[in-house]
């Protein structure tokens, strides 16, 4: 299913268009890190790094969790997978419904034909 989440992909691409944010993802792929550690590494202010992490978070690429005074960031790719998974379940449900609906529709078609023949007699 390629089409299911165009808007998410757009958000992801926008998030990935920045060299610092790509660096943050590479960093988080190696290990989770706090905002202040990331800010240090990329020689940025806390506020600047928060902004970048916020954009990555919105795109579902990063998740953050605040424990005490430290906000830890980690890769959040699973959110995309989660969405794909439930849309796939939704798809399966409707596909199953429509297969049953096919049977009902065939029956109605046959009935209509039979009724049509009766009327012509």
């Amino acid at each position: 299913m390629v089409q299911y989440t165009q808007t998410h992909f757009n958000a992801s691409f926008a998030a990935l268009s920045d060299v610092t944010r790509r660096g943050v993802l590479e960093q988080l792929a190696r290990a989770d890190a706090s905002i202040s550690v990331l800010a240090n590494k990329f020689d940025m202010t806390l506020t600047g790094m928060k902004k970048h992490v916020g954009i990555l978070e919105q795109a579902g690429l990063v998740t953050t969790e605040k424990v005490g005074r430290v906000r830890t960031c980690r890769l959040g790719l699973c959110r995309l997978e989660e969405e794909a998974a439930w849309i796939e379940r939704y798809h399966q449900l409707w596909a199953a419904r429509f297969d049953e609906l096919d049977k009902v529709v065939e029956e109605l078609k046959r009935k209509e034909k039979a009724d049509g023949r009766k009327k012509r007699r």
Partner: protein, 169 residues
């Protein structure tokens, strides 16, 4: 990601689902019948309940009440009384268009629009679900997963009971 095997009859009429925006899901399917027939299967409760709760998904409706007219209500109840879907018809235009609300989850429920477009004796059905917000759609996803697993759990129990008492499915 279509699970069907090649050569199955349904292959020509594939079901597609697309999240067209943060708040919208669009499902499409073609049926080999004129629109008035497909419409009938969506608007007569005795027909609707035969396909809407597919056995293959382990679902079964206990009751299905539908007052298909503008302002009319519907209510679908699963085996378990706590699981019900209900709402109000906003538009009823035979044989081409149905619109209803989904009120079981309060404010967060979508408005469902179904259109039936006849093309050379076949019908393209488009099911459009518009949620009040991105969060509502995201939450519905999580909820749907819960409902499905709950349903499967109930089915397991039901099958055991039925198997024991009836000796048939």
């Amino acid at each position: 990601m279509d699970a069907r095997k090649e050569g199955e009859p349904g292959l020509m009429n594939r079901t597609t689902v697309e999240r067209t925006s943060e708040r919208e899901l669009v499902t499409k399917r073609t049926f080999n019948a004129p629109a008035h027939i497909v419409f009938e299967a969506w608007t007569k409760p005795e027909l609707f309940k035969r396909w809407w709760a597919p056995k293959s998904m382990g679902m079964s409706l206990r009751s299905c009440e539908m007052d298909v007219r503008v302002g009319g209500k519907y209510r679908l109840e699963f085996q378990n009384e706590t699981m019900a879907f209900f709402g109000t018809y906003l538009e009823v235009t035979p044989p081409s268009r149905l619109v209803w609300t989904n009120e079981e989850s309060g404010e967060g429920g979508p408005v469902t629009t179904v259109t039936f477009e006849e093309q050379g004796g076949r019908t393209l059905l488009v099911l459009h679900e518009l949620y009040p917000s991105k969060e509502a759609l995201d939450a519905a996803g999580t909820g749907a997963a819960d409902v499905l697993s709950e349903t499967f759990g109930q089915l397991d129990e039901l099958l055991v009971t039925l198997g024991a008492s009836m000796g048939r499915t």
